[in-house]
C-alpha cells in the first residue's frame, strides 16, 4: 500500500487535512469528564458559547474581547463557530456508524444466505432507498414532542443504511464464490464464522468509502434540520442554526451567515475528498492483486 497513492493526490491530502481539523475542533468542543465546559474553554482557546456578554450591543463587530464579534444575542461568535463543529461532526459520524452497523448486518445476511431471504431484504432496502432522507428527517423531528440530538442520530442512522447494505451484499455475492471461501468451508468453518471472519473484512472496503460519503450527507442533513429549527435545541450552537440567525444580517454583517456556511462546506468537502482518496487507496485493481487472508 504505502504512501504513494496519497502523495500522488493532493486532493486526498487536502481532504484528510480538513477532516483532521474538523475532528480536532470537535474533540475540543465536546464536553469531557466531570469538569464543566469543553476542552476549548478549559484551554482558554474559546469561551462558553452560550454566555451572553451584557456589555455589547449585538451583533457587534470584532474587537479585542471578541475576535469575530458577537452574534445577534451577544454571544462570542468565534466560540460558537468552533463549538458548532460538535453538533455537525458528531451527528455525522454517530449517525453513519449506526447506518454502517445496520447496513453491514443486512447486506451480509442477504449476500451470504441468498435465495428468498436475499430477495426479501433487498426489497426492503429498495423501499428504504426510495424515501428522501432530509424530508423524512424533517417530518420526524417536527412530529416528535421533544426534539434532541439523540433523536437526530437515530433518525438519520435508521434511514441511511440502504446504500451500504447493497454494497456489502454485492461484495458477498462475488466473494462467496471465491477459492478461499471454499477452502475455509472445506476446513470445517460454519456459515457465520465464514461470513464474519473471512468474507466481511474483504467486503468492507466499498462500504467504508460509502460511509465516509454518508458522513458528509448526514452533516448536510443536520444543517438543514438546524436551519429549520428542527435540530439541536437552543442555545446549543450549530452551523445550520447560525446560518439561519445570520441571514437577516447578510447585508450588514455578512460573516454571521457566511462563516458557518464556509465551515460547513469545508467539513463536507473534506469528507468527500477523503472518500475519494479512500476509494483509490482500497481499490484492489490498482495494485493488481486481490485480498486474501
Amino acid at each position: 500500500m504505502g504512501w504513494k497513492p496519497v502523495r500522488r493526490s493532493p486532493a486526498t491530502l487536502a481532504g484528510a487535512l480538513l477532516v483532521a481539523s474538523a475532528l480536532v475542533v470537535t474533540l475540543g468542543a465536546v464536553e469531557w469528564g466531570e469538569k464543566p465546559g469543553s476542552l476549548l474553554t478549559r484551554l482558554r482557546v474559546a469561551t462558553d458559547p452560550t454566555a451572553i456578554d451584557r456589555g455589547v450591543l449585538p451583533p457587534s463587530s470584532p474587537d479585542a474581547r471578541h475576535l469575530l464579534g458577537t452574534d445577534p444575542l451577544g454571544r462570542d461568535f468565534l466560540s460558537r463557530l468552533l463549538h458548532g463543529a460538535r453538533v455537525s461532526v458528531v451527528v455525522g459520524i454517530v449517525a453513519e456508524a449506526i447506518a454502517l452497523l445496520l447496513g453491514v448486518t443486512v447486506g451480509a445476511i442477504a449476500g451470504y444466505a441468498g435465495g428468498k431471504l436475499d430477495a426479501l431484504l433487498m426489497r426492503a432496502t429498495d423501499i428504504l432507498l426510495a424515501f428522501p432522507i432530509p424530508l423524512i428527517a424533517m417530518g420526524a423531528m417536527a412530529v416528535l414532542d421533544s426534539p434532541s440530538l439523540v433523536l437526530v442520530f437515530v433518525v438519520l442512522g435508521l434511514m441511511g443504511w440502504g446504500g451500504i447494505a447493497r454494497l456489502i451484499r454485492a461484495e458477498f455475492l462475488s466473494l462467496r464464490e471465491r477459492d478461499f471461501t471454499e477452502a475455509a468451508r472445506a476446513l470445517g468453518a460454519g456459515g457465520g464464522r465464514v461470513a464474519f471472519l473471512h468474507l466481511l473484512p474483504n467486503a468492507l472496503a466499498p462500504a467504508l468509502v460509502a460511509a465516509t460519503v454518508g458522513v458528509a450527507g448526514n452533516i448536510l442533513t443536520e444543517a438543514w434540520l438546524s436551519f429549520l429549527g428542527l435540530g439541536a435545541p437552543p442555545p446549543t450552537p450549530s452551523w445550520g442554526g447560525m446560518i439561519f440567525e445570520g441571514r437577516v444580517y447578510l447585508t450588514t454583517q455578512p460573516w454571521l451567515c457566511l462563516l458557518p456556511g464556509l465551515a460547513l462546506a469545508a467539513t463536507v468537502a473534506g469528507f468527500l475528498l477523503l472518500a475519494d482518496g479512500l476509494r483509490d487507496l482500497l481499490d484492489p485493481r490498482r495494485r493488481g492483486q486481490t485480498w486474501a487472508i
Binding site: P72, L73, S146, G229, V248
Partner: protein, 534 residues
C-alpha cells in the same frame, strides 16, 4: 430548411403581447388600500374564534350596535345612535339609527340584532364569542340549548333593542363593540349550504368582493354605508407569508401597509424610511407564565420571586427587541384602566435573585429539577427566550427551551386538566379580547377560567375576590383602585414574570392620510376614514 422570418417575428410579437396581459389588473389595484397579511384567515364567520388577522376583515365587513372610537378604547355609537342604562346597571336600551342597510340592500331592524346575538350563542360549530356574551340574561341556558328563548335580548319595536344582563358587567359595551356584536342578516346566515362562509354579508363600510385563496381578499367600498361612502375604492389584503418579501413589496410600492418589520432591520429602517416607519402601543403584555400545577414553582413564592429578579427585562426590550417595546414588571399595559405608571416591584438584580433562591430552598440552584420552557418557534420570541434562559442560568436555574409550531404550542399551553400546561414555564403574549382590565387580569388569573385563558392554573381566593369586585363595580374611579390593588397582589404573589409592554411597528406609505391606529390592535383601525393621496 429555410425559416420564414416574417412568421417568426409575428410569433415573437404575439408571445410578448401575452406577457403584457396581467398589467391592467395591477393598475386597478392602485385605487385600493393594499394591506399585507401573512396568510389566509381560517374563516370569515364573525362568531368563529377570532384571531387578530381575522378580526381585521370582520371589523370592516360587519358593524355592531356600538364601536371603538378611532384611536382609543372609548365606546361610541354605531348602528345604535344612542342608549340608556337602567339605574341598577343591568338593562341597556338602544335606539337604532334610521337608514342603515345590509350589503344586500335590506334595511337593518331590531330583529336582526336579536338574531345575531342568538346566533353567536348557539352556533352549529364552535363559537369564540360565547364567553363575551354569557352575562346576558338567559344566555347560559340558551347556549346549552336548555331553553329555546333568549329573554335577555328583546326588540319591542323595529327601532329599539333592550338587552338585560344577569348582573352589572362593566365591560359589556366593549363586548358589543367586538366581533361578538356583529350584526348579520338572517336570510344569509340561515343558509344551510353555508354560502356565507364564502361570501359574508354585513352592514359595515366595506363589502365582500372576492377571496382568491392564497393570494388576496378584496373588499370594495359600500356606498350606502350610514357614515357615507368611504373615501377609498376598497381594501385589498395581500397574503405574503415571508416578512422579507413583504418588506421588498412595500419598498417597491406594492403595498400601502406592511404590518411586520423584519428582524435586524430596524436601525436601517429608522434611518432610511423614517417617514414610513411607525411604532404603535398595543394593549398587550408579554410575560413568562408559570404552571401552578407543577412543582417546584407551585408552592414556592420565594422561588418565583427569585426568577423575577433574575431576568433583565430592560435588555430584552432595549437591545433584543431593538427598542420597540417597553420593559415592565407590571401586568396591565398603558391605555387600560388600572394601569400603574410607577415602576413595578421587580428589577434586574441577580444578587437578590440568588438570595431568594437560597431562601426558597435551592441555594445556587442545587436540587432544582430541570425546568422546561415552552415557546412558539417564532424567531423573535426564540430570540428573547434564549436571553431569559441565559439570565436564569446565571443564577443557577437550568432551563430547557421547547420551541414548537404555533398550533402545537397552543395545545401545549392548554395542556391537560391534571397537570396543566406541557411545561413548567411558558411564553405568553396576551392580547385581551376586550380592552378592559377584566379581559386581562380576570381572564388570566381567576380560578374559574382554566380553560379559556388562565393557562397558568393560578388559583388564589384573595385574588378571585378582588377580580370579582372589579367586574361588578361600574364607577370607573373605584374600578381603577380595585384593579391596581389586584395587580399589586398578583405581583407580590409572583404569579408570572412580566417582560414588556408590547408595541407594534409597521410601515405605512406616505400616500396614506387619516390612518389612526388603535392600541387595541390593527383590526380596530377605522379604514373607512383613510384617504389615498398621489
Amino acid at each position: 430548411m429555410k425559416v420564414n422570418g416574417k412568421r417568426m417575428r409575428l410569433a415573437l410579437a404575439a408571445a410578448l403581447l401575452t406577457a403584457l396581459v396581467p398589467l391592467p389588473v395591477c393598475a386597478r389595484d392602485d385605487a385600493y388600500f393594499r394591506y399585507r397579511m401573512s396568510s389566509d384567515p381560517p374563516t370569515l364567520d364573525p362568531i368563529q374564534p377570532p384571531d387578530e388577522s381575522t378580526g381585521l376583515y370582520l371589523f370592516n365587513i360587519f358593524d355592531g350596535l356600538v364601536e371603538f372610537s378611532p384611536g382609543g378604547v372609548e365606546i361610541v355609537p354605531a348602528v345604535a345612535e344612542s342608549w340608556t342604562l337602567s339605574p341598577d346597571g343591568t338593562r341597556y336600551t338602544f335606539k337604532l339609527r334610521k337608514g342603515v342597510r345590509f350589503h344586500n340592500g335590506r334595511e337593518v331592524v331590531a330583529a336582526d340584532i336579536v338574531y345575531s346575538l342568538k346566533r353567536g350563542l348557539q352556533p352549529k360549530k364552535g363559537s369564540g364569542v360565547v364567553p363575551l356574551l354569557d352575562t346576558i340574561k338567559g344566555a347560559r341556558e340558551f347556549a346549552a340549548r336548555a331553553k329555546p328563548d333568549l329573554p335577555g335580548v328583546l326588540a319591542p319595536d323595529p327601532a329599539t333593542v333592550v338587552i338585560t344582563l344577569e348582573r352589572p358587567f362593566a365591560p359589556f359595551l366593549a363586548a358589543l363593540a367586538s366581533v361578538a356584536g356583529s350584526i348579520m342578516p338572517s336570510e344569509v346566515y340561515d343558509d344551510p349550504k353555508e354560502g356565507y362562509l364564502e361570501h359574508p354579508v354585513g352592514c359595515g363600510p366595506f363589502q365582500f368582493e372576492a377571496w382568491d385563496r392564497g393570494v388576496s381578499i378584496r373588499l370594495s367600498a359600500f356606498k350606502q354605508h350610514w357614515k357615507g361612502p368611504p373615501a377609498i375604492a376598497g381594501l385589498a389584503f395581500r397574503f405574503l407569508p415571508d416578512v422579507s418579501t413583504a418588506f421588498e413589496e412595500f419598498k417597491t410600492g406594492g403595498l400601502e401597509y406592511d404590518n411586520e418589520v423584519p428582524l435586524g432591520r430596524r436601525a436601517w429602517i429608522r434611518a432610511n424610511l423614517a417617514a414610513e416607519y411607525r411604532v404603535w402601543p398595543r394593549v398587550a403584555t408579554s410575560f413568562v407564565a408559570f404552571n401552578f400545577l407543577r412543582e417546584p414553582l407551585r408552592g414556592n413564592v420565594k422561588l418565583r420571586r427569585a426568577l423575577n429578579f433574575a431576568v433583565d427585562r430592560d435588555r430584552i426590550a432595549r437591545v433584543l427587541q431593538e427598542g420597540k417595546d417597553v420593559a415592565t414588571s407590571r401586568i396591565l399595559p398603558p391605555e387600560l384602566l388600572g394601569h400603574n405608571p410607577a415602576p413595578g416591584p421587580y428589577r434586574y438584580d441577580p444578587a437578590e435573585a440568588k438570595k431568594l433562591l437560597a431562601e426558597g430552598g435551592y441555594p445556587e440552584g442545587k436540587g432544582l429539577p430541570e425546568i422546561v420552557y415552552l415557546t412558539p418557534n417564532n424567531e423573535a420570541i426564540l430570540h428573547y427566550a434564549q436571553a431569559v434562559q441565559s439570565d436564569l442560568a446565571a443564577v443557577g436555574v437550568k432551563v430547557r427551551i421547547s420551541a414548537q409550531q404555533f398550533g402545537a404550542y397552543l395545545k401545549g399551553i392548554q395542556g391537560t386538566k391534571e397537570s396543566g400546561a406541557d411545561a413548567s414555564i411558558f411564553n405568553l403574549l396576551w392580547y385581551p379580547d376586550l380592552p378592559d382590565p377584566d379581559g386581562f387580569l380576570r381572564v388570566l388569573f381567576h380560578s374559574t377560567n382554566f380553560e379559556m385563558g388562565n393557562y397558568s392554573r393560578y388559583a388564589n381566593p384573595a385574588a378571585d375576590r378582588l377580580l370579582d369586585e372589579g367586574r361588578a363595580e361600574l364607577d370607573p374611579k373605584k374600578r381603577e383602585a380595585i384593579y391596581r390593588k389586584a395587580e399589586d397582589f398578583l405581583l407580590s404573589d409572583a404569579s408570572c414574570i412580566p417582560l414588556y409592554y408590547q408595541f407594534e411597528d409597521g410601515l405605512l406609505s406616505a400616500r396614506v392620510k387619516g390612518f389612526v391606529n388603535n392600541p387595541i390592535g390593527d383590526f380596530a383601525t377605522h379604514l373607512e376614514l383613510i384617504r389615498l393621496g398621489p
